[in-house]
Structure formats: structure tokens, C-alpha cells
Point group: none
Chain length 132, copies 2
Amino acid sequence: MAMEAASAHEELRAGDLEVRPDDGMVIAAGRTLSVSVREFQLLVALMRRVGRIVTREDLYGIVWGGTLRAGDRSIDVYVHKLRVKLEEALPDWQFIHTHVGFGYRLAPERSHSFHTDATAVSHTPAQGGSAS
Amino acid sequence: MAMEAASAHEELRAGDLEVRPDDGMVIAAGRTLSVSVREFQLLVALMRRVGRIVTREDLYGIVWGGTLRAGDRSIDVYVHKLRVKLEEALPDWQFIHTHVGFGYRLAPERSHSFHTDATAVSHTPAQGGSAS
DNA sequence: GAAAGCGTTTACAGGACGTTCACACGAATT
DNA sequence: AATTCGTGTGAACGTCCTGTAAACGCTTTC
């Protein structure tokens, strides 16, 4: 059977971004990029939920463990570090998207080329308007 | 014959680096390198996993056998020794890459060294110079 | 028996990492 | 427009990890 979520050689993909949770490797456009342990854990957590918004609380629980304390900016810092490295490797693609008040979402989207951004409605309040 | 990991005339390659586990030979850019037994074992272990990150624990188990004790720096020392010899043989290539917190990865990559030298290297690097 | 090579261990230096601050920017609200 | 909350971003700082040279004992060779 194909058990991939937790055992043999899981391989996560999103556009030209590839992550191998087992090997600790991140490959962007064929080139291996070096990321720290925290960066890697965060990236894996997001990659396992591609296209979906992950709350800070969830991310913290997954990567750091425990509960996110008020005022803790670790997630923001590491999201930023990841963005820098990903943009350096794949300049025309944007992977980690911010959903203010909701969390982060990982998905490969073109950066600056053209604004198809008529999507003014980023997320309807029907989704989960009560975030703590 | 599909078995190559331990039988007849295995021949490992990575760029201009060639290793023959059976003969105990290391050839870099056509020149034979002399390496010690430990250095050789470590190199073979890494070459058999080209492109992948190998943890210190795994390396130790493969080359030294047993479990890596806390504070044991043998691997670091031998990685360094290998790096010195490989760089001496192939100055513009970097083979053993460190992934902090993960392990080591062997892969031929150009050394992006932006030297400010306008005099020295211009064409043929004279690799058979005066080495030992 | 002395010299040399090798593998291991030790010591110190340098760099990377993770966390926390501080401030700037932007979005949402009033 | 002004305020408030949330996020972006660069930097400071202590800690841990890795790089590197050298000391040490062991084995081999002459």
C-alpha cells in the first residue's frame, strides 16, 4: 500500500518546490537549498497543508510544540526567513501568503508578472470570523 | 546484475571525482589521490548517497560502527581532512556540504569564489603542478 | 629502537541558529 | 483621518554546532 504521510519517503511538492521530510532536503528548481531545522519544520508543516490556511496557533503547535504565547513573533520571523530563501531560489513565484487575522497559506503563485488580482475578496468572513 | 552496492567493480562518480571501493582508489581529475583508510571509508559512504543528506549518526554507524557518542568529533575531523584533499585536487569544486542540524551531503558544486585576482587564473589551471 | 603514519581525542575559534526586541508598514475599525 | 491591531523586517544576543589545529597513543616500518 502507499503509506506516505508518515513512513516511506514522503515527497511534498508545490510548483518547482520539492521537500523531502525524511531527508531534510529542500529542492527549488532543481537546486538544493540549505535551510535550518526550524525553517525546515515550518516549511514541511505548511507543505503538508498546501492551499489551506494554517493558523498561527496550529503552526506553533506543530513546529514548536505547546501553545503560542501572546507576543511571540517566532513564526513571523521564520516565515520571513523562508520567504527570503524561496524568493532567492524562485524569484517569480510566491509561496507563503498571509491571510491577516487567519494565518498563512502555502501555494505557488506567480509574483509580479501581471495582476490577475481582481480577487479583492480575499476571504469571506463566513469561514471563521471568530479567531479567538 | 542489479547489485552494485557490494559486488563486482563498483564505480562511484560525482563530477570529476571517481572512487573505486574495490580497489581503494580515489581519482580526481585524472590524478590519483592518496587517502587513509578512514578517509576512504567516509568518502565511499558519502559517495554511495550522492545528493542526499547523511546524518552524523548514520555516517558513524556505517564507517565506525556502533553509535555516535556525544562529543565525538571524529566525523568532523575526517570530513575536514577529505575536504582539504579534495579541494587541493579540484580547487573550483565543492563536494561535501554541511547541513547544520541534519548532516553532510556530497555533491559536486562550483565554488562560487569571487576572488579579486586579476593576475593568476586565466586559462588552464595547471592541475599537475607541484603536489607532494 | 627511532621515525613516520594513522586514528582518536582535546581545545579553541568561528559561524550558524533560535529567540527576542524594536521599529516600520499595512490593514481594519471607528 | 486617526487609532488600533496585526504583520514585515532588520538587528542584538546567548547558545549550540561545526571548522580546524594540535596533542596523544598506537601501530607499522626502517
